[in-house]
């Protein structure tokens, strides 16, 4: 019995019993899949909101603190009268 014959025999064994598809399977799959989709959409929405909130907070902080402006020096005495 060569390889092809053996594989054909195994295929025949596997094809012998065919289960019938229950009718509620489609609805259940759509319900679960839709829930997964909604959750993923909500997670993406939340992520965007967080990103926008973080960038707005950073912008407000930067405009009020202005960290790029050199702070006024208070160690050197003012240069007067030379």
């Amino acid at each position: 019995m060569n390889r092809a014959e053996r594989e054909a025999a195994v295929r025949r064994i596997m094809d012998r019993t065919v289960p019938s598809v229950p009718p509620e399977l489609y609805g259940e799959a759509v319900r679960r899949g839709g829930r997964m989709l909604r959750r993923r959409r909500a997670a993406r929405c939340l992520m965007w909101l967080l990103l926008i909130a973080a960038s707005v907070a950073f912008l407000v902080w930067a405009l009020t603190v202005q960290p790029w402006v050199e702070p006024p020096s208070d160690t050197t005495p003012p240069l007067t009268d030379w």
């Binding site: 019995m1 596997m14 289960p19 319900r31 899949g33 997964m36």
Partner: protein, 167 residues
Amino acid sequence: MRQRQAAQGARRAREFEAFVAGAAGRLLHAATLLTAEAPRDNPRARRLLTLALAHTYAHWDGLRGEDPYDRAREYLATRFARGVWHRYGGFGRARRHPAGPLARLTPQERLILVLRLYEGVAEEQAAALLGLPVERVRSICDRATATLLHPPRDPAPAVSGARVAPS
């Protein structure tokens, strides 16, 4: 935005229904062979198929021309492989439902046999899917074929379980 989403949802539902009508029978047969349950009483196979179809439905818009059947089959196989790891920790428990035609084989042998011979997946693809070397897939497939065609007289579950456990 909302209208576009609704139109997309309707299209997805229509296409998915056609896909399920065409593919569910074959996938359920494959799942029943994997779980080695009787064709009339296959709760695990149904659950596996429901999860695979739900996964396919959720990723329907991101398929981009990929075959949804391939995607569902891939998820079914990997989910079964992962589930086996959790569920069949004890020896000999896999033979609780000795009803299906592949009940004599171990879960890994069933998985490879179904992928290779029932679904006709190439050896390289099956090996990549399961994370095994190609030679190992071939040898497991040969061993499973031999076990199925020439069943041992007195199958001892403890011995076969111990032989399979380290893999």
